[in-house]
């Protein structure tokens, strides 16, 4: 690491006592504004303080252009503990080569996240990219001209990774962590970009849907997303490896009544109501 000279001399990370992780954890451009309230806490508290969202009990959302924006406001967040179905850990990995730095891959992903989604699906997040505490509204294509309206909450974001958590009614209860890191000889090898999903289907209906095609559809979704990111990073032929592990084969029947919040049922009803009203006018 070199020392930088200038009007105000800047010391290297070694001289000011920063670890490599702290140096790498410097927020990406545009992340500082939204994470602002946490920055004061970071000065006095743990150094991960700015990376975590503040605690929320129920989600609040503002209308966003291009998405229906239903089934999110007032909902609680759900992790794997609150889900119904079997618990899965799914890993989607792409080798980005030695030329792409992990921080560059994550900054690009955070900044342009919606642009990498497969056609027909909409992610309406904050204009500044992915920042802790943001709520993004989603319209997902589920066939028959119906869009599943749901959302995600940005649970965590730093220069090396970011994590989205799902609300009640989403297809699954859990979180998705997007990360990039060096692997290989002495960590100077190649950059591996990864999406890791830890999830349970949210209710019995989703569990059936996931078993009969839902998992396959989700695998295609994230493989396509990683491929699009790889192309943006300039990779000539991005290849994505998929690995699924069933971490817990038990279903949590005490959470079967999550079905009352099912966003798929509600989205179908909202679509039918919208079409009927349109025909009436």
């Amino acid at each position: 690491m070199t020392e930088t000279a200038g009007p105000d001399r800047v010391r290297s990370t070694e001289q000011i006592g920063l670890s490599a992780r702290e140096a790498a954890a410097t927020p990406v451009p545009n992340a500082t504004q939204a994470a602002g309230p946490r920055n004061a806490a970071q000065a006095a508290g743990p150094r991960d303080a700015a990376s975590w969202a503040r605690k929320v009990d129920r989600l609040e959302v503002d209308p966003r252009a291009g998405v229906r924006g239903t089934n999110v406001a007032g909902r609680r967040l759900t992790g794997p503990v609150q889900g119904f179905g079997k618990m899965w850990q799914k890993t989607y990995r792409m080798n980005a080569g030695s030329q792409i730095q992990p921080e560059v891959a994550i900054a690009t992903w955070r900044q342009h996240f919606p642009e990498f989604w497969p056609k027909g699906n909409r992610f309406a997040g904050a204009l500044t990219g992915i920042n802790p505490g943001d709520v993004a509204l989603l319209d997902l294509a589920i066939g028959g001209g119906v869009k599943l309206s749901t959302g995600v909450f940005v649970l965590y974001a730093d220069a090396e990774s970011f994590t989205l958590m799902t609300p009640q009614g989403h297809m699954f209860a859990g979180w998705i962590t997007f990360s990039a890191e060096r692997e290989g000889p002495e960590m100077g090898g190649e950059t591996i970009v990864q999406a890791l999903v830890l999830m349970r289907a949210n209710d019995p209906l989703y569990e059936v849907a996931m078993t009969f095609g839902g998992h396959r559809k989700e695998d295609k979704f994230w493989a396509a997303t990683l491929t699009a990111l790889g192309e943006r990073l300039g990779l000539p032929d991005p290849k994505v490896e998929t690995k699924s592990v069933c971490v817990d084969t038990k279903r949590q029947w005490r959470h079967a009544n999550n079905i009352w919040q099912n966003s798929m049922i509600r989205s179908v009803m909202q679509t039918l109501t919208f079409r009927r009203n349109k025909q009436a006018t």
Partner: protein, 118 residues
């Protein structure tokens, strides 16, 4: 993957309780170490596993995911998982992720061992 900056020491309290003292950075990279600590703490008689987070210096979302995996393993063995020593910041993260609904949080070791939430 980088070497995790963490230590995990297992202490036995009586026949059926084990405490894991966690010091350092909890990230996904320390999963093998946590699972080794879990193996050491689970000798067939252990029915309560207590995680001591007094020495926790840093935790990212990968670390939270790892705790969920630990929770699944403990549930499979019908073991109760609890924690103490969390700072206000990390207690909020447990509440935000709703992990506190499955891992009981105590203020200190004494209350954790007695099973008394203050």
């Amino acid at each position: 993957m980088s070497a995790p900056a963490i230590t995990m020491d297992v202490r036995r309290i009586g026949d059926d309780v084990a405490v894991v003292d966690i010091k350092g950075e909890v990230t996904a990279a320390c999963e093998p170490m946590l699972m080794s600590a879990y193996e050491a703490a689970s000798d067939g008689r252990t029915n309560r596993l207590v995680l001591n987070f007094e020495g926790l210096e840093y935790m990212n979302s990968g670390g939270i995911g790892m705790l969920v995996t630990l929770l699944v393993r403990a549930n499979r063995q019908r073991q109760q998982l609890s924690a103490y020593g969390l700072s206000e910041h990390y207690r909020e993260i447990f509440e935000l992720t709703r992990l506190d609904e499955a891992i009981t949080i105590y203020d200190n070791e004494e209350s954790a061992l007695n099973g008394v939430v203050k």
